[in-house]
Symmetry: C2
Subunit: 319 residues, 2 copies
């Protein structure tokens, strides 16, 4: 086809105001052109930090846009399990990225179906032990290890851990890092120093009830995200703990609030934006290769490094 003709046609199309009908095109090509993003169910979006999602979504969005794909947001229902297969059967999406999946029976089963169905998908920040799923993750074991080693190096010995629910692999990973750090320092982990919140500021605040009484015996706390760390700090203050008796504090995620809190919060930076980008890239590549031998395809399992960002909250208080 000659370039000149091509231009003439395009000009004529513009002349009559022709715009291709995206639906008809999808229908003919049997591709929706949509990249699905499954969001966790979070009442009013408060539980998971907004930071976490906006970063990941931006990363996904930038890649999707570059590849002419549209982002379709899919919200989990409050109760039930998401039927991922149906997204593909009904042709709503060409590929999908799953956020905030929990390691629960129905979920695991649903993803296994997806995987065996040979559909392009990718989990972000969640691993399923014993499965070989496409996952883009950060190295939270290393992140936890660094956080705790940092506290140990700063001279703290009795280090409590306010973790998240263990349906999330990142919770389990951080715990492993915590244990390893203590282990290397020759400290026997004290199970009574382990606490669990749900990543909300409130749950951090509530944890103060259990942590405050132990305070002479705890000199530092590692929290599984910044919101809980800040909530805990506020909770302790509300219970009358004086600044000079505050335990050292290390958070996780290095969200905006880490540098906005007082004292600024030492935290573990997680490359959420990149996680999003990589997951989108991966899923779009799977989509391209979909002609190939499906069973031979290797599963992706990435673990991006994290980075400890030291701020005032974890400096030795004798300084």
């Amino acid at each position: 086809m000659k370039e000149e003709t091509r231009q003439r046609v395009l000009a004529a199309a513009r002349q009559v105001g022709y715009t291709p009908n995206a639906i008809a095109r999808s229908f003919a090509t049997r591709r929706s052109g949509h990249l699905g993003v499954v969001m966790p169910y979070v009442p009013k979006a408060r539980l998971f930090s907004a930071y976490y999602f906006s970063e990941i979504l931006s990363g996904i969005g930038s890649r999707a846009q570059a590849n002419k794909y549209d982002l379709l947001m899919l919200f989990r229902e409050p109760g039930g399990t998401m039927d991922y297969m149906n997204l593909f059967r009904s042709r709503k999406v060409d590929a999908c990225i799953i956020l905030g999946a929990k390691d629960e029976l129905g979920e695991r089963e649903a993803i296994r179906e997806l995987d065996q169905g040979g559909h392009p998908y990718c989990l972000i920040n969640q691993r399923f032990d014993g499965e070989n799923f496409h996952v883009v993750d950060a190295d939270h074991a290393e992140g936890g290890y660094r956080a705790v080693r940092h506290l140990l190096q700063a001279g703290y010995r009795r280090i409590a851990f306010l973790n998240g629910p263990d349906v999330y692999s990142n919770s389990r990973d951080r715990l492993a890092g915590y244990r390893r750090a203590l282990d290397e320092a020759g400290i026997t982990p004290d199970e009574s120093l382990l606490f669990e919140g749900n990543f909300s500021r409130k749950s951090g605040h509530a944890a103060a009830e259990f942590i405050a009484p132990l305070l002479p015996g705890i000199d530092a706390v590692f929290a599984a995200n910044d919101r809980m760390a800040i909530g805990l700090s506020q909770g302790l203050r509300a219970r009358g703990v004086k600044p000079e008796h505050m335990p050292a504090l290390v958070g996780y995620d290095d969200s905006d609030s880490a540098e906005m809190s007082d004292p600024p919060l030492t935290s573990v930076r997680v490359p959420f934006y990149q996680l999003g980008e990589l997951a989108a890239s991966h899923v779009l590549r799977l989509l391209e290769e979909q002609g190939g031998p499906a069973d031979r395809r290797e599963r992706m399992h990435l673990q991006l490094p994290t980075e400890l960002v030291v701020r005032a909250s974890s400096l030795n208080r004798t300084m």
Copy 2:
């Protein structure tokens, strides 16, 4: 049709594993089933606060889900203007909600087309003077007024204002509120106390350069969002301003960071989640009524009330 037959058919469908093809259905009905959400261009999602968007998106999402609509995220290109009309011409969306629109020539024109084309759309948090668009907004003039009146009542007289860019109607509205409050208190607004940031923490931090030198002559600052307020506070501290010389501070949005900062930040709460819900409801209603006489349809213009949340940052320092 008898209920029994209906069940028999559904059972048979399940039997053979039939799932309707969403694309084919869209094609036949000439409806995409998508609710478009136009996102502002924000490099790495940092400029606009994550809080703002996740709240609005959650609100939109809840309504969309309840009406069996999917959310299609549409990202503005870095440079150009969004061609809203084309979203409808190409049948990508049945309705759309526009976030973060700026009052600029191309934008205004594009929305006017949309409006005159009779398409279901709604702006959130942005008004265009002289146009009669569908808008769901909050009463930022009232919000600004309350913030400043509160400072006046607390005894502050020299009140600076760190506003956002005036391509946003909310910036202009807040300024009007600021002026009215001063006016009522018999204070002549001093133009040299007006500063402009871009809603980022950084820009608040940077504003400290100009505000710090004036400090004896400024006893309070009202900032157009919490991030700038906190950035400013940090910037002043970084410039050696002692806590006892810190101006009183009022932020805006009442985001998470307001209650996480130290001292806790007085702020103006904006019902972002509801803005999202209402915009979605409205747009879906327009969609239903689309058969009706398009030109006679009234434009929506809502202004939800805001609420002042008083915290320590604005208490009189003599207390």
